[in-house]
């Protein structure tokens, strides 16, 4: 199959880009490994306090459905349940498809998104030990409970919003605790550091807990830490948030039966006896990292920017990479929310249109401004120092990226 543009990833950025490009005269194919388009949108369902009153509820699945319907209606070829296992020369995309094993395109847009970092603690492979992202998808998309009594390990913006979502769905969430505090996980998970990271979700966050925190955070952040740490736990929507307990291991013979928790001091030292809590599911949250496997096979320059979530393709403000004809959008460029991904998809699309001598519905400059706007309006910030990371990236791009 031959198209002008091949897009890997049918998430918010990939679908948005596909629509913009096909509306302006390009032929487009989108490939996704999941069984339906939408990417991380599919699991998202929360309230956005920053949106206009009639747009407060962010129903990711509905947005995904709308994008898919529009894209298909315009004639975008969407391949689901298909793996793009490699790309070679500009551009051959190799597929695990029973009939079409290659797509040839002029331009390649990588919108491969992100995957979850592992939180390997003893017992984590027991059935019932599940990633926070999977918990979100099963709760909001498939509408199946991941367990009857669930513990969440890892206290961060994503796990907090999934907790609320599970709670709203009627699942018994027994509590949220910190990941293990050990030399292996570094010192990033002490109670003080966890709370420090949460300050950044303050005021931006989709639920009352974080908004409450935010009020403190904006004005009296030092007092917030003192407050949160003095009380061993806070309750949000009736769920205890144990800011001074960390998970030690998961127990069970056939599947998850219990967790062992350890109280810790504010700087992460064990205090007192470990305790056992019976649960039948544990959701592990360790954050997301950009999926660059396919990018690697193209030979584009990759850079490690921890503030953006890890290794990403070096890219410019218009989503170009170090390889002509290769563009990126969405979480592959750094871990941010769906609104930013949508704006990045739009930006990558108009950049691609421009590179092929065509006009988009808006200019590249306008699309850049839309993206900045989306960043400011995002209800959820996954990484606290994303701006610092973007600045770092732009400097690197100016130094090494321009071709």
């Amino acid at each position: 199959m031959k198209v002008d543009v091949a897009i890997i990833g049918a998430g918010p950025s990939g679908l948005t880009a596909a629509i913009e490009m096909i509306e302006n005269g390009l032929t487009v194919a989108v490939i996704d490994e999941y069984y339906r388009p939408g990417g991380r949108l599919l699991g998202q369902h929360y309230e956005d306090p920053k949106a206009a009153p009639d747009q407060r509820v962010w129903n990711g699945k509905n947005i995904a459905d709308q994008l898919e319907k529009k894209a298909r209606g315009l004639g975008v070829h969407i391949f689901t349940n298909v793996t793009a296992w490699s790309v070679s020369e500009k551009w051959k995309i190799h597929l695990s498809h029973p009939k079409i094993n290659m797509i040839v395109s002029k331009v390649l847009l990588l919108a491969t998104g992100s995957a979850e970092k592992a939180l390997p603690i003893p017992g984590w492979t027991l059935p019932g030990g599940i990633s926070i992202g999977a918990a979100q998808t099963f709760t909001n998309l498939h509408r199946v409970a991941v367990g009857e009594k669930v513990l969440i390990a890892g206290i961060d913006p994503l796990s907090l919003s999934v907790m609320i979502e599970m709670k709203n769905a009627g699942i018994d969430v027994a509590g949220m605790v910190l990941p293990p505090i050990s030399p292996a996980s570094g010192n990033h998970h002490t109670p003080v550091q966890t709370v420090a990271r949460l300050k950044d979700v303050a005021g931006l966050a989709p639920n009352s807990f974080i908004r409450t925190f935010g009020k403190y955070a904006l004005a009296w952040f030092p007092r917030l830490i003192a407050h949160a740490l003095r009380f061993n736990f806070l309750k949000v929507n009736g769920v205890p948030i144990h800011l001074r307990k960390s998970i030690v291991r998961i127990e069970g013979s056939e599947q998850v039966e219990a967790v062992i928790l350890q109280s810790v001091s504010a700087d992460g030292k064990p205090v007192g006896q470990a305790e056992r809590m019976e649960v039948d599911a544990v959701c592990l949250s360790a954050g997301l990292y950009p999926l660059v496997d396919l990018a690697e096979t193209t030979g584009c320059t990759l850079v490690d920017i921890p503030e953006l979530g890890g290794v990403i393709p070096l890219h410019g403000p218009d989503m170009t990479t170090t390889i002509n004809g290769l563009f990126v959008a969405g979480n592959i460029t750094g871990i941010e929310g769906a609104k930013v991904a949508i704006a990045q998809g739009q930006l990558a699309a108009v950049s691609i249109l421009k590179s092929l001598g065509k006009n988009g519905s808006i200019t590249v400059q306008e699309a850049k401004m839309e993206m900045e706007k989306a960043r400011i309006q995002s209800p959820l910030r996954f990484l606290p120092n994303i701006d610092e990371g973007r600045t770092k990236l732009n400097k690197l791009w100016e130094k090494e990226g321009v071709i």
Partner: protein, 384 residues
């Protein structure tokens, strides 16, 4: 004082030489720029195919080597995943049948009782082979082994016999005095010895170039696919006739037809993964995999075993085979420069020939009469 020998190269060939030298009482130092089996020996398949060898001196060596393999597990006291599984060269076209018929006739003359069998018999011996298969060869003495285990076992056995193994130490220079090699200079130290054996495979030419010695070994890339774990599927080692014809193919004459030189060589590891090769390409020292080659190898494998269409490939890797123009390794002393020996250039025969190469090189380096006339493998053959 005992005889000091440095072996440069910790692959199958180098470790085997180190072992047999240490066994003969030499004071051995084995050095490698990286690790044991970190180059070609760690990125190859597992076949000890005798019947695929070119009749003549190479086949004679391979037969001797196969005999050594039979007792090697006991001798080294290690499980090498050695299995005498027999081997087949499967034939898909009439043209291939003609070439293989000639080869079998020659092999039978050399005392290898390879048989040509019908497609039906082949399918009986190896269920799952395609109904389209025309015929096959069969030889019960072909075997398989885990080349990583062999390399590590040889190195350990050498160490037990007193050899010193220095890893992560690249050879910077071969040190000479007049017309004699007196040792090597690594990144860390100068090591003196009575003899130096260069068993550095595709990297051998670089080591000898500074001495004005030209070694005509060229890297020939081969790609192998690794499947998901499967229940035991392969009863026997399998090559396709096209693998053999690609191997015998010289230079670029026929490269236009199939630039990747794809032919099937398939084996199964003890953990259940299939190792599915392979390709033959002259791309310098490039070890990048090529998705088109991956796809071609997959197609060839599915043609031979239709049920593999359902099987997933979980990764793919390449190795650099040390190619020589006449498909024979270079084994022996370097003329005009005393104290230096080469054992390299086995292309795809390194697994099969490792034990005998080690044994004979030890004999040569220790000044004994080698158990076989080795003139056919001399470096000087290329000067004529």
């Amino acid at each position: 004082m005992s005889y000091k020998v440095i072996v440069a190269g910790g692959g199958l060939i180098g470790t085997s030489i180190a072992y047999y030298l240490a066994k003969s009482g030499a004071e051995v130092t084995l050095i490698d720029s990286k690790d044991i089996a970190s180059g070609t020996s760690g990125s190859c398949d597992r076949a000890i195919m005798i019947q695929s060898k070119k009749p003549g001196p190479t086949l004679d060596l391979a037969i001797k080597s196969a005999a050594l393999y039979q007792d090697l597990e006991e001798e080294l006291e290690v499980d090498l995943e050695y299995r005498k599984s027999g081997g087949m060269i499967i034939i898909e076209t009439k043209e291939e049948l003609k070439v293989i018929k000639d080869m079998v006739a020659l092999q039978q003359k050399s005392g290898v009782d390879v048989r040509l069998i019908s497609g039906d018999e082949a399918r009986k011996r190896q269920p799952g082979l395609s109904e389209d298969l025309l015929a096959s060869t069969w030889w019960e003495h072909d075997a398989e082994v885990n080349p990583l285990k062999v390399s590590f076992a040889m190195a350990s056995a050498a160490r037990r016999l007193g050899a010193v193994i220095k890893l992560g130490s690249p050879v910077r220079n071969l040190m000479t005095e007049k017309n004699r090699v007196i040792g090597v200079e690594t990144s860390e130290e100068e090591l003196y010895a009575d003899a130096v054996v260069v068993a550095a495979g595709v990297w051998t030419p670089q080591l000898l170039k500074p001495l004005g010695v030209d070694v005509p070994i060229i890297p020939r890339q081969g790609q192998i696919l690794v499947s998901e774990r499967l229940p035991p599927l392969l009863r026997t080692g399998i090559l396709s006739a096209s693998y053999i014809t690609n191997k015998l193919r010289k230079g670029a004459s026929r490269e236009a037809a199939d630039p990747f030189g794809v032919g099937l060589a398939i084996g199964q590891t003890h953990s259940g993964s299939l190792l599915i090769g392979g390709s033959r390409q002259f791309v310098g020292y490039n070890t990048e995999t090529n998705p088109e080659v991956t796809q071609k190898i997959g197609e060839v494998a599915v043609r031979a075993f239709p049920q593999l269409a359902k099987v997933r490939i979980i990764r793919t890797f390449t190795g650099l085979r040390p190619y020589t123009a006449d498909a024979k390794p270079i084994l022996g002393a370097v003329q005009g420069m005393d104290g230096i020996y080469i054992a390299a250039g086995h292309e795809g025969d390194g697994v099969a020939l490792a034990p005998i190469t080690g044994k004979i090189m030890a004999q040569i380096v220790c000044g004994e009469e080698p158990e076989k006339d080795m003139r056919a493998f001399s470096l000087s053959r290329f000067k004529q």
